[in-house]
């Protein structure tokens, strides 16, 4: 085995340093969640302290937080499942049947995603109030699914393009239905793309604040809205609440990214780089 050179040691040390710098805010917030308000704000910061779970007890015993956590999970999971299912079928159609104007339609799809949320908020709000969808699970899930579809179609089309149509034809010649070809032949081959699209959508919906704040309400508010609405307490910023809530809030995305990080790379390249996934 080749001995490690000092350059490689220096390079690894630099990587660790950068990683630790990026990890520092997470470390700080998680550490703070086990401190009292005085300990959080102490200067210099207290690294040696008696940890307390009082912040978590208070958080989970509040009337609204468990419900908001439940909402975040339900809205994210449901929207992702619907978005990915619809996007997969749309991407398959674009990839295989190439309807006239496919390139323009694909551009339109992506341009919708490029639009800042604030540009769409008023018409969406008026529509939701008009239809009676405001602060309903179905309405919120529908909105998040629709907002997630364009990017998912882009990701999945790249993956499906990479699956040879000869696979479809083998199915057709041997008497397989389109549904069977899609679910048993194409889907398993583009699973990395499906997972990548699901991760991106999950993180988007999990972090979404603006639309939940405007077209959501007490029944459907999620954790970002809970964070904003519980920010101030007793005339100042409630750091104990923020640190405990944020520590809970970041767990699902961290777990998702940790376990599925290899799919993120292939997802970001729209399937053009396969990778060993």
């Amino acid at each position: 085995m080749r001995p490690t050179s000092w350059r490689e040691h220096a390079y690894h040390a630099l990587l660790w340093l950068v990683a630790l710098i990026f990890f520092a805010p997470i470390f700080w917030i998680v550490l703070s969640s086990f401190k009292t308000a005085d300990q959080i704000l102490a200067v210099p910061p207290k690294l040696i302290f008696t940890p307390t779970i009082a912040n978590y007890t208070k958080l989970f015993s509040s009337a609204s937080f468990p419900h908001q956590l439940f909402n975040s999970v339900v809205l994210s999971v449901a929207a992702v499942l619907i978005a990915v299912a619809v996007s997969f079928l749309a991407a398959f159609s674009f990839s295989r049947f190439k309807p006239p104007g496919t390139n323009f339609l694909m551009f339109l799809l992506l341009s919708i995603r490029m639009l800042p949320g604030s540009a769409a908020i008023l018409p969406v709000y008026l529509m939701y109030v008009g239809f009676g969808w405001k602060d309903t699970y179905a309405g919120m899930i529908l909105f998040y699914a629709m907002f997630s579809i364009p990017f998912s179609v882009w990701i999945l089309k790249g993956f499906i393009d990479g699956v040879s149509p000869r696979f479809d034809e083998t199915g057709i010649v041997n008497g397989a239905s389109w549904l069977r070809i899609i679910t048993r032949t194409i889907l398993p081959q583009v699973m990395p793309g499906v997972i990548a699209a699901s991760i991106f959508n999950f993180i988007f919906v999990w972090n979404e604040f603006l639309f939940n704040y405007i077209i959501g309400g007490i029944s459907t508010s999620n954790i970002p809205v809970a964070l904003a609405s519980g920010l101030y307490s007793n005339g100042g910023v409630d750091w104990t609440f923020i640190s405990a809530l944020t520590s809970v809030y970041i767990v699902p995305p961290i777990l998702v990214v940790y376990f599925f990080q290899r799919y993120l790379l292939v997802g970001m390249t729209f399937g053009t780089v396969r990778g060993e996934v």
């Binding site: 000869r166 696979f167 010649v173 081959q189």
Partner: protein
């Protein structure tokens, strides 16, 4: 039984004809090779037969039954596509069993029949592997096995040996011929490789630019082609085409060889004379020429030489030309007997020397 007939079949893509008024017959229980240069329309013809595309015009019949509008799945045709198209997420066994699984055949029968076809193709030890664990040749065998497993009397193979090394191709060619004989089925085999066509075929269909140039038993196509393009496209090394003139007395002059036709003809005018490589011999008292390229194949050596401003090719025993090099003199003679004479304008056969 599976006699295939195409009647006036054309196929266009955005106004460009890939196949133009093709009428041809594939004899039952024979191994017919469809050959031609790239973009001749071979794969298009196969896709029409298998039902992956509908012809713009014409009818397709199998055993006198019109199947032009019959869906692909109901045609009972075994198909081996050009690419392997092996599903990467399932085992080789499941890949091969795919047609039977779709027909809801019992597991026991699937296992039996997959085992049989795998035995013939020598891939039994590979059945539990994934396609990604196979070599190119093994993948091709698995793809052929899947195509062969379907309950069918007609099998279409789209250039199944392309890209494989020579030894592997040789072995698979034998396997395919044995398999055809064992199944007693009709095989239509597509290739753009002239040597492969000659090796495999019982009957040969020569396709060029969307037209059937010739369809006959392979020996007939090679020795007595009816069209200049068939002579040009079938043969290895390629044939030599000499420009010549046929006079009213039946004498053909090419500038390299002059010879009389063996039978009288009314044709007079410009002709193309086809000399197969074996009709040209290296002889010390022959016409002068210069070696331009030599390809030593072991026992034989393919020599490309320049004579009268034209590059000709011949195949001679290697020892006889071992002393030659590029630019060496290469005296040669062309035997007039058996030379094929075609109308240069239409390509039709006029006569032979």
């Amino acid at each position: 039984m599976s006699r295939v007939r195409l009647q006036g079949v054309s196929q266009s893509y955005r106004g460009v004809k890939a196949l133009d008024d093709v009428t041809v017959e594939v004899a039952s229980q024979r191994l017919t090779v469809l050959c031609g240069p790239p973009a001749a329309g071979k794969s298009v013809l196969l896709r029409l037969l298998v039902g992956l595309e509908q012809p713009s015009e014409g009818r397709i019949l199998i055993d006198d039954r019109d199947i032009t509008d019959v869906p692909a799945a109901q045609r009972r045709i075994g198909y081996v596509p050009q690419s392997f198209a092996l599903f990467p997420h399932v085992s080789v066994f499941d890949n091969i069993a795919y047609p039977l699984a779709l027909q809801h055949v019992s597991r026991a029968e699937i296992a039996l029949r997959v085992g049989q076809v795998a035995e013939i193709l020598g891939i039994n030890p590979l059945l539990s592997k994934r396609p990604s664990q196979l070599s190119g040749g093994e993948k091709q065998r698995a793809a052929i096995a899947r195509g062969m497993l379907k309950n069918a009397d007609l099998f279409l193979l789209d250039d199944p040996l392309v890209g494989l090394d020579f030894k592997l191709r040789e072995s698979l060619m034998e396997d395919l011929k044995d398999m055809r004989a064992e199944l007693g089925a009709t095989f239509l085999y597509v290739t753009s490789d002239s040597l492969e066509a000659l090796t495999m075929a019982e009957d040969l269909i020569v396709l060029d630019a969307g037209h059937v140039v010739e369809a006959n038993p392979v020996a007939e196509v090679y020795h007595s082609p009816r069209h200049l393009r068939a002579a040009e496209l079938v043969g290895f090394p390629r044939c030599n085409v000499l420009a010549g003139v046929l006079d009213a007395g039946g004498l053909c002059r090419t500038g390299i060889v002059d010879f009389p036709l063996s039978a009288p003809t009314n044709f007079v005018g410009e002709v193309a004379v086809v000399a197969r490589p074996e009709q040209i011999a290296y002889r010390a008292d022959g016409a002068p020429a210069t070696v331009r390229l030599m390809e030593n194949l072991g026992a034989e050596c393919v020599v490309y030489f320049e004579a009268g401003g034209q590059t000709l090719v011949t195949s001679v025993p290697s020892p006889s030309v071992a002393h030659l090099d590029i630019d060496s003199p290469f005296p040669f003679v062309v035997r007039g007997e058996g030379l094929l004479v075609f109308d240069r304008a239409s390509g039709a056969l006029v006569g032979r020397g």
